[in-house]
Symmetry: C2
Subunit: 191 residues, 2 copies
DNA sequence: GGTAACATGTAAGCGGTTACATGATTAG
DNA sequence: CTAATCATGTAACCGCTTACATGTTACC
């Protein structure tokens, strides 16, 4: 009832925007970029959602914006306020449900892969493995950036990076083990 | 253009339903249950989508249904056809994008956790760890079922189960390592 | 001079969930 | 006799994405 005009708690994407401003993203455009470079593996946001979020955050005094055009190119830049810092910290600390939603067609196909031929199932397994391996590589490529941030006092982005690397590496390992079990010789199982 | 009445390729959830019928789920109700017991960690479906999917699959001849009421309780049960087997196998074998979509508020909060106090950040880390630990336990509890299926010739559900376990165990491990680094003594970092 | 990147928006649509609705059967 | 489970549906709604829209600045 009534998410009309009064309270209406901030949504997750509002906090994402707030957090990115805190980490130094100035314009909506930069926020979108920073999201793509950092949390895109476990959260996405489109620019369409960012601009309304910025307006709302500013209305609430959690960020402060000023127009700073590049020549004739309209541009509004933001900084987090003390109230914003506090709101973000409260949200982070706030206990409550943290939904973990995974949607993975690859795993679904694997689940049903008994219906396919050994060759097709093997190819699918290889594809799933490759996908995770690529992601591991992509994440490892970011490690220097995270380490740089770490020395400057920002430690947790590195943790989420390690989490991403670890779980995709774990998937690669399981795929390898299974492939070894299933094709010890050449498509034969249970020797 | 035109997903009117002619072709309109089957959507993932249609294949999920088809696959579950193949694995022995007979009614829509049973399909929903089996989804909850098996692939819910990487795919969800609500009963609202299942019944239209069943109708569509039957129209295409991929499953065959007959009314089999329990007394006065309406109930329609299904079996997969040879054409259905083939369609499922083709889909599984079909190369193509396999989006891996993860949405995890816990990781988002962790990413921004530098804004919080050491105590709050530690609590958050513990909560994320606990969440994955619980999931590991829940998945391990299913292992006997997967092993039973394995001996009966259904091998791949066990693989996805191992993937899930490994995935969350990896997250637990990273959380533990990070917690050890950050609190060697008592909230001090970089000794 | 052209292409990529910068910068911000509106509007339509879709895939999916939630709420609502109904009723029968089984187990305690 | 009451609650949980079985079994299937309709309708409203909502968050999010896609497509559309526009113009600027910087680089090659």
């Amino acid at each position: 009832m009534s998410k009309s005009s009064v309270a209406a708690a901030l949504a997750p994407q509002d906090y994402v925007v707030l957090g990115m401003v805190r980490l130094g993203a100035r314009s909506g455009y930069e926020i979108k970029q920073m999201v793509e470079l950092s949390i895109r593996f476990f959260w996405t946001i489109s620019h369409v959602q960012i601009y309304p979020a910025l307006r709302q955050l500013e209305e609430r005094g959690l960020i402060e914006g000023r127009d700073e055009p590049r020549g004739k190119l309209a541009r509004r830049v933001f900084e987090i306020t003390a109230a914003g810092d506090h709101a973000l910290a409260s949200w982070v600390a706030e206990a409550g449900p943290m939904p973990f939603e995974l949607r993975d067609l690859g795993m679904v196909k694997l689940f049903f892969a008994d219906v396919a031929s050994d060759a097709d199932a093997g190819a699918l397994l290889g594809a799933v493995r490759a996908r995770s391996a690529e992601r591991v590589a992509a994440l490892q490529a970011i490690e220097p950036v995270a380490e740089a941030a770490d020395t400057e006092g920002t430690h947790f982005p590195g943790l989420t990076l390690q989490l991403g690397i670890a779980f995709h590496q774990a998937m690669v390992d399981v795929c390898d083990r299974f492939a070894a079990e299933v094709t010890p010789a050449k498509g034969q199982r249970t020797p």
